[in-house]
């Protein structure tokens, strides 16, 4: 297992390098003079020159690139242009909220999606199947901010079951959990849809296999056949789909945080956009790049856990 992990980590290095390079290029394609974009066209030449030096824009491009990479390898994301605080500190302050939200959404996605998919496959074209198909169609169709607003209006504004203004910062764990329910369900909705679809189609295929017939012939109870034998073989596509759409989840987390006014990376991105804080924006892009590479590694490692055959390949 250790060798498998080491090999997977080594594979991530070129990907990370490429993604970081992409971030470097992206931030530098600002049309026109970036100092004017940041300071506005009323800024004095002296102020613009000072900013240029602070951002290292007076250096040649390769030197900027080198500094960028060295800085990141030291775990330094630079300082915010507006507050002058280290960006790493800002990120650490809100990261737990985003992770909390994403993990909760993942749990909801699996806890609802797998049973729904299994049920739909067992009662094909029955009521459960139709419900699962409609539900996953809706889940795939809802943009995160649309479902978020509808949930907010229904359950927070009208029914008052949950707070309108997020209390994610509360020290009281019950209050904190209450603030998590709607956003997590909103973010989890799309995962439920993906997981339901892949579980349903995987189960339909698995239930037609020879080993299932053998298990039936042996007289094993139906519950055991479905949940132990068939589902085990559907786990790989389920993990794949979760890994594949973790990126979508991270993107939607940003929108969900905005709608529910939760602290997190999403709110930080909006702050950076509003204040034209390109240093903060670049730092946040680096963080999301890391998040995606880590998510991909975790997905591959889960393959090894779910299916022992993967490790030996």
């Amino acid at each position: 297992m250790l060798r498998f992990v080491a090999k997977r980590l080594a594979l991530a290095i070129p990907t990370l390098w490429a993604v970081l390079t992409l971030v470097f290029v992206l931030v530098r394609i600002v049309p026109g003079d970036p100092t004017i974009v940041i300071l506005g066209d009323q800024a004095t030449p002296a102020a613009r020159e000072a900013l240029r030096q602070r951002l290292g824009l007076d250096q040649p491009l390769w030197s900027q690139y080198w500094d960028f990479m060295v800085q990141i390898l030291h775990g330094d994301l630079g300082r915010s242009l507006v507050t002058n605080r280290p960006i790493v500190d800002d990120v650490w302050a809100v990261l737990p909220f985003t992770i909390e939200l994403t993990v909760a959404a993942l749990i909801i996605g699996v806890a609802m999606g797998v049973p729904l998919g299994v049920l739909a496959a067992r009662k094909r074209d029955g009521f459960a199947d139709w419900f699962a198909r409609l539900f996953s169609l809706a889940g795939l169709s809802f943009p995160a901010f649309v479902s978020g607003i509808l949930l907010l209006i229904a359950f927070a504004v009208q029914l008052r079951w949950f707070p309108v203004i997020s209390t994610a910062n509360a020290t009281d764990p019950v209050e904190r959990l209450r603030a998590l329910v709607l956003p997590a369900f909103n973010l989890g909705l799309i995962m439920v849809a993906y997981v339901t679809r892949v579980t349903r189609s995987g189960m339909l295929k698995a239930l037609g296999e020879d080993y299932i017939r053998t298990a039936r012939a042996k007289g094993l109870p139906q519950r055991l056949i479905v949940w132990r034998h068939a589902l085990r073989n559907v786990l790989i596509p389920i993990v794949t789909v979760i890994g594949l759409y973790l990126g979508v989840l991270i993107g939607n987390a940003v929108v969900t945080e905005i709608v529910f006014n939760r602290p997190g990376l999403g709110k930080l991105i909006v702050t950076a956009l509003n204040q034209r804080d390109y240093a903060l924006l670049q730092g946040l892009m680096v963080v999301s790049a890391f998040a995606i590479v880590v998510a991909n590694i975790l997905t591959d490692l889960t393959y090894g856990l779910v299916d022992p055959r993967v490790k030996t390949q």
Binding site: A138, S141, G247, V248, I250, V259, L273, A289
Partner: protein, 293 residues
């Protein structure tokens, strides 16, 4: 996405042009419903000046924040503007951005993908590596960054969404081309002395269009959703131009004043998403021989 990119396994795919594919597609009903909805919405958007009951930008301070009535089906907003008219006019920008950005992504991505798959070698390796890196970034974050850097306006919005679409189509077109170029008819073309360009774009391309079309229908939903989301975040076409995402944003800012401000434009977005997903699923099932008959 990945199964469309894999070299076509046996059994062979059913061509979308085949009559049987059309029968399969229409039998489920989803495709027909989706198509009717989308055509309806395009017509409403195209004839917005005739269909919309009011001027979408006309303000009436005496009639602000009125809930749905017989005169204003979707109510009025904080400036007294008719929400229904704004949703109808908003469809123009939202659908336009979605279609143009998707088309640009399809054309560019497919051409690059076909070239990459057809020639192979170092160019193919480089293109595949670049595609993998671009695809590893969440599409929404990528679009957000691009618009943030380029500046929010209609042109940049289309450009940014098109750029995020390109890698997906490169991958699909490349994978299908790889499978197609081993086929006998390509050998025959070579034997006849046809040039590479002619083979690629007159013979290979028509044969991989099914995969591209299915992908494009699903991507159209993604493009419209991205435009709406970016507008909602404040990175869309600047106000007062009505776009679906922008109207939802305005409604969201006045959430406690009236539910109708955000609910109706939200439902418009949802409706087009459902319609496009129905079309995408229907087309995919129609070309997949393993799908239930």
């Amino acid at each position: 996405m990945s199964d469309a990119a894999a070299p076509a396994p046996a059994p062979a795919k059913v061509s979308l042009a085949a009559p049987s594919a059309w029968r399969r597609a229409t039998r489920s009903g989803g495709l027909v419903v989706g198509l009717l909805l989308v055509i309806g919405m395009i017509l409403v958007a195209a004839f917005a000046p005739q269909v919309a009951p009011y001027d979408p930008d006309a303000q009436d301070v005496l009639l602000n924040l009125v809930g749905p009535t017989a005169d204003h089906w979707f109510g009025t907003d904080a400036f007294g503007r008719d929400v229904l008219s704004r949703v109808i006019w908003g469809a123009r920008i939202s659908l336009f951005v979605g279609f143009v950005a998707t088309m640009a992504g399809v054309v560019f991505g497919t051409v690059v993908g076909v070239i990459s798959g057809y020639y192979g070698g170092k160019v193919d390796k480089a293109i595949t590596a670049a595609t993998d890196v671009l695809l590893s970034f969440p599409q929404l974050i990528m679009g957000l960054m691009l618009v943030a850097v380029l500046g929010p306006n209609l042109q940049n919005l289309i450009l940014a969404i098109a750029i995020t679409a390109v890698p997906a189509f490169v991958r699909v077109a490349r994978g299908s081309t790889l499978a197609m170029k081993e086929r006998d008819f390509v050998d025959a073309c070579r034997a006849l002395g046809y040039g590479d360009l002619r083979i690629m774009f007159l013979h290979v391309l028509p044969n991989i269009m099914d995969e591209v079309v299915v992908m494009a229908s699903l991507w159209l939903a993604t493009a419209i959703r991205t435009e709406a989301t970016l507008s909602f975040i404040g990175l869309g076409v600047p106000p007062p131009t009505a776009t679906w995402g922008g109207i939802v944003r305005e409604g969201f800012d006045n959430l406690l004043d009236g539910w109708w401000l955000s609910v109706f434009p939200s439902l418009a977005i949802l409706l087009v998403m459902i319609a496009l997903n129905l079309i995408g699923d229907g087309l995919r099932d129609a070309t997949d021989p393993r799908a239930p008959q």
